[in-house]
């Protein structure tokens, strides 16, 4: 069974896969993280059974999947907030407004020092670390902050791996970056999460502020996209079902907010329906 996709979902997938192996035995689940875009591409090429995603499938990706005859079902599993992080010793900045983030990250932005971002801050260079262009987090952040998906300044250090971003920001004085909250949570001793002012005051990212909506514009739902054909193999359906069932417990432990109970019931129903469709298709 091959699962590929979002690096933001990876900590959850890892926790679920470990629990699944404990319950059902065997290390049969291969987890990769090519990014949400790469995960969708591989799912629609029939190379993988499940794609994890930190943004919904775009119309173009949907068309590509349809062209290749790959039917799939999207199951929401958790909620996550994109977290803006700075070097741990940077105590001068606690909160950034969406407007400041937009000026910093807009294409061709010439904000290169903290002072240029906000008068009164030191004239230290802002070194930027962030996900690369195949990342769902990148697409989401640019859409919310800059206003258009994939519109970003290009002179930052891109990485497909949020751990590398964490390492870069943690190890570079006056650096800044953004990543999924779970990756921040795993490195919280080395990083400083900044609050974000969306117009209604500064809000710190946390599973609580993701759940109650106060961190809202930067909160997204994470999904599993399961290929319908793969559901003919009972193991795939078992794993996807286990993922949905285990998420309410494992998501908070791994640094996400769980969805409401009703949403998990709905995910289960969607999965059952897709499984029936797959069985009809094969008989």
């Amino acid at each position: 069974m091959v699962v590929d996709g979002s690096n933001s979902v990876l900590p959850l997938s890892e926790a679920v896969a470990a629990a699944f192996a404990e319950r059902h035995g065997g290390g049969r689940v291969a987890l990769r993280s090519s990014g949400t875009g790469g995960g969708f591409r591989r799912l629609c090429d029939g190379e993988t059974d499940i794609a994890t995603a930190s943004r919904p499938m775009s119309a173009r990706e949907r068309a590509r999947c349809r062209e290749r005859g790959v039917r799939h079902v999207a199951l929401p599993v958790a909620r996550d907030g994109v977290t803006v992080v700075a070097h741990s010793r940077n105590a001068l900045v606690a909160c950034l407004g969406l407007g400041e983030l937009r000026r910093l990250w807009a294409p061709g932005s010439e904000v290169s020092t903290w002072r240029a971002l906000r008068p009164g801050l030191p004239a230290q260079a802002v070194r930027l670390y962030a996900p690369g262009s195949d990342s769902g987090t990148f697409d989401f952040f640019t859409r919310v902050v800059v206003g258009r998906a994939k519109a970003s300044r290009a002179d930052y250090d891109p990485s497909a791996d949020h751990e590398t971003i964490a390492r870069g920001v943690a190890g570079t004085p006056w650096a800044m970056g953004y990543m999924g909250y779970a990756h921040y949570a795993a490195n919280r001793h080395a990083l400083r999460a900044l609050q974000v002012d969306t117009g209604a005051g500064c809000v710190a990212p946390s599973p609580k502020s993701f759940a109650d909506g106060s961190y809202s514009p930067l909160v997204r739902e994470l999904h599993l996209y399961v290929a319908e054909d793969a559901l003919r193999r009972p193991a795939v359906g078992r794993f996807a079902g286990f993922f949905v069932d285990a998420s309410p417990r494992l998501a908070p432990e791994a640094g996400y907010a769980a969805l409401s109970a009703a949403q998990y019931v709905r995910s289960r129903a969607l999965l059952a329906e897709a499984t029936r469709a797959a069985e009809r298709g094969s008989s």
């Binding site: 090519s34 990014g35 790469g38 995960g39 591409r41 294409p107 070194r127 690369g132 870069g168 190890g171």
Partner: protein, 311 residues
């Protein structure tokens, strides 16, 4: 004692027997293997050439070679490869500045100074360094060289050119040492003895007689080691970062040609997408550079000085 009957192995049978057939079969198997190896190289070259050709059909070559902004995946992509070339050049030159003195002085020591026992120990140590996998060097650069560097310069970034350069230098030092020693060994012993007979010190003989006679071989050693540094991927991918800017400070992160290819390929690359074409163009450039350096190194090695002990 039982007399032994000697059975002649099949391949020693006369020309008409089954041995000849086995011979023909074996010949075909060997040919197939050789063809497969050469064919693989041709396929790799073909893929790179097609990708690069598609790339240059969209992006003008002038912008590629002269541009100073590398942002291939931006909304408005820019394909100036110069920052990547500058990063690779800086790391290669820095690494050879570390490796050449280390390697060449080790070679001189091993060839002309070391006693038999200590020589064997030192040669084994150099060989051990040569056998370290590059991913281990990358780990060392990230988790040993960088923290040490930051003790001296606290402003050094988490991923920086300096520690990658230092560790790439250590990685290629054995190449310089071994090839350099071969070059020294190829100088006819008569040169050395004649110099010593004139009453010169060992150091003067090595510096003024043996080394000039071995100059070609030494240059080849340096060149081949530099080719390794240009193509080195793991260390720079792990430790040098992904910042494709024209950084002047070695304490800042840089992105080499190889690191761009590796880091971009860590995600999933669609074979018909723009990222594949950019990777192919950079990989093709990398191949041309390393091939030219290898060819020059081999050409130097092929022409030994007259009277060489090992023609």
């Amino acid at each position: 004692m039982v007399a032994r009957t000697v059975t002649r192995p099949l391949f020693l049978e006369g020309t008409g027997g089954p041995g000849a057939r086995a011979d023909r079969v074996a010949r075909r198997v060997f040919l197939a293997c050789a063809a497969l190896t050469g064919g693989t190289a041709a396929v790799v070259l073909g893929v790179l050439a097609v990708g690069a050709a598609q790339f240059f059909a969209e992006a003008p070559a002038g912008g590629f070679f002269a541009g100073t902004t590398w942002a291939p995946f931006a909304e408005e992509p820019r394909f100036g490869v110069w920052p990547l070339v500058a990063a690779t050049s800086r790391i290669t030159i820095g690494a050879i500045l570390v490796a050449a003195p280390l390697g060449l002085l080790s070679a001189v020591y091993l060839q002309h100074y070391a006693g038999r026992r200590t020589g064997a120990v030192v040669a084994a140590a150099v060989a051990a360094l040569a056998s370290v996998p590059t991913v281990v060097f990358g780990y060392v650069a990230l988790n040993a060289a960088t923290p040490l560097l930051r003790l001296v310069w606290p402003g050094a970034e988490a991923f920086n050119g300096a520690s990658a350069t230092l560790v790439v230098g250590l990685m290629i030092a054995p190449t310089v040492a071994f090839l350099g020693r071969e070059a020294l060994a190829a100088v006819p012993p008569a040169y050395f003895h004649a110099g010593m007979a004139l009453g010169a010190s060992r150091g003067r003989v090595v510096a003024l007689v043996v080394a000039p006679a071995a100059a070609r071989g030494i240059a080849a050693a340096v060149l081949l080691a530099m080719a390794r540094a240009v193509g080195e991927t793991m260390i720079v991918t792990m430790a040098a970062g992904s910042h494709a800017g024209l950084a002047w400070s070695p304490l800042e992160g840089v992105r080499t040609l190889t690191a761009f290819v590796a880091q971009t390929s860590l995600g999933d690359i669609a074979p018909d997408g723009p990222d594949f074409r950019a990777v192919a163009a950079v990989a093709a450039l990398l191949f041309v550079v390393t091939y030219a350096m290898h060819a020059a190194g081999r050409a130097l090695l092929a022409r030994r000085p007259a009277g060489s002990a090992h023609p």
